[in-house]
Symmetry: C2
Subunit: 195 residues, 2 copies
C-alpha cells in the first residue's frame, strides 16, 4: 500500500491539508501528518490552521523518521505562515532533494511551492499560489496551470481551489488511474467539474 507523509505547521491552509490527506486515505494511501515547528516550539497539541481550525498531527516531524525509505510521497501544503515554517526548515529541504533523487513523489501546493526554491531544486516547470509567483518565476519555468507535473515533482496553485485536482493527481501517480476513478465517483462532484 502506498504511503505519504504530509507536513503541517501553524498557519497551514487547512483545506489544502485536509482535502489532500482525506482523498489519499480514500484511495488506500497510508497517510501520516507530521508537525513542523520552529524554535519556539513548546509541544502544542495541535497545529492552528490559517483560518483557525486546530488539527492534531499524527506525529511531530522527525527527519530520521521521514525519509523516502519510509514513505512514497512527501507533501507540503500551503498557507503563508505554515509554508514559510516548512520551507525554511533545512531538514525538510534535504528531504525534498532526497525524495526526488530517489524517484519518490514530492507534492507542493500554494505557498508550499516555496520549498522548491529553498530546497535549491533545478529549474523546471512549477506553479504556486499567485502571491509567491514573483519569488519563483526567475528560478523555475513558471506555469499557471492548476497542477503541474515535472517528473516526480507535483505542484499546484492553490489556494484551496486546485486542491482536489492536486490530490487526484497524487492518487493517480501513487495508485493508478483506475483507483483515481474509483475514489472520484462516490465524491459526487457537480456535473461539469473540470477534474
Amino acid at each position: 500500500m502506498p504511503s505519504a507523509l504530509i507536513l503541517i505547521a501553524d498557519g497551514t491552509e487547512e483545506m489544502e491539508f485536509t482535502i489532500t490527506y482525506d482523498t489519499l486515505v480514500r484511495a488506500g494511501v497510508t497517510c501520516q501528518s507530521a508537525f513542523v515547528h520552529d524554535d519556539e516550539f513548546v509541544s502544542p497539541v495541535a497545529a492552528k490552521g490559517s483560518r483557525g481550525i486546530r488539527i492534531m498531527p499524527d506525529v511531530y516531524f522527525e527527519p530520521d523518521a521521514s525519509g523516502p525509505d519510509k514513505f512514497d510521497a512527501l507533501i507540503i501544503p500551503g498557507g503563508a505562515k505554515g509554508a514559510e515554517t516548512i520551507a525554511k526548515n533545512s531538514a525538510v529541504q534535504a528531504l525534498v532533494r532526497e525524495y526526488l533523487s530517489q524517484g519518490k513523489l514530492v507534492g507542493m501546493i500554494c505557498a508550499g511551492s516555496m520549498a522548491a526554491l529553498t530546497s535549491g531544486l533545478p529549474k523546471q516547470p512549477l506553479t504556486s499560489h499567485p502571491g509567491v509567483k514573483n519569488y519563483l518565476e526567475s528560478d523555475f519555468s513558471y506555469s499557471e496551470d492548476p497542477v503541474v507535473v515535472s517528473n516526480n515533482l507535483i505542484t499546484s496553485r492553490g489556494p484551496a481551489g486546485t486542491t482536489f485536482p492536486f490530490a487526484f493527481k497524487l492518487v493517480e501517480l501513487l495508485c493508478g488511474l483506475e483507483k483515481r476513478n474509483e475514489v472520484y465517483g462516490p465524491m459526487v462532484f457537480p456535473p461539469g467539474t473540470p477534474w
Copy 2:
C-alpha cells in the same frame, strides 16, 4: 458580523467540515465548532474524522450556548458516523427546529441531511448523500442538485464534491453576493469550475 455554529463529532467528514468552516471564515463569518458526543463521552481532545484526521473543536456542544440568539447559522456536516451522532441528538433536533422557526439558516450536507428527518421537519425540497436517499425520499421532495435551498434550510449532496458550492451558498446568504465573489476569486478554482 454574521456567525455560524458548525457541529462536529467522531466520524465527521473532515473535508466537509473544513471547507465549510474555512470558506466562511474567509468571508468574515465568526465560526465556532462544537463537539457533539454520545453517552460514552470521556473528554477526548479532538474529534476523529471519517478519514482519521483529528480536529480539535472550539468548544464542546452545549445546547444552551448554541441557540439562534447566539448564531446566524447552524451547520451539520456529513460523514456517516458523525452525522448519525449529531442527527440523533435530541438537543440538536430542537435547535434545528428553533433556528428555522426564527428565520436563521440551517445547513446540512451529505449524511448530515438525516437531521432534517430526525428533527421532524415538514416535507420540502432537500438533497443528501446518495447513500441515505432512501431514508429521505418519502418524507421530502428529494432532489439530486448539488445544493438545494428551501427557504432557510440549505442542503447539499456531498460527500465532499459539493462542499465548495454549499459553502459559497452559505456565504452568499449570510454575507451577500458581493462578499461571495470577493472570497471566490482568490481561491483560484480551475477554469470551468461550475460554482
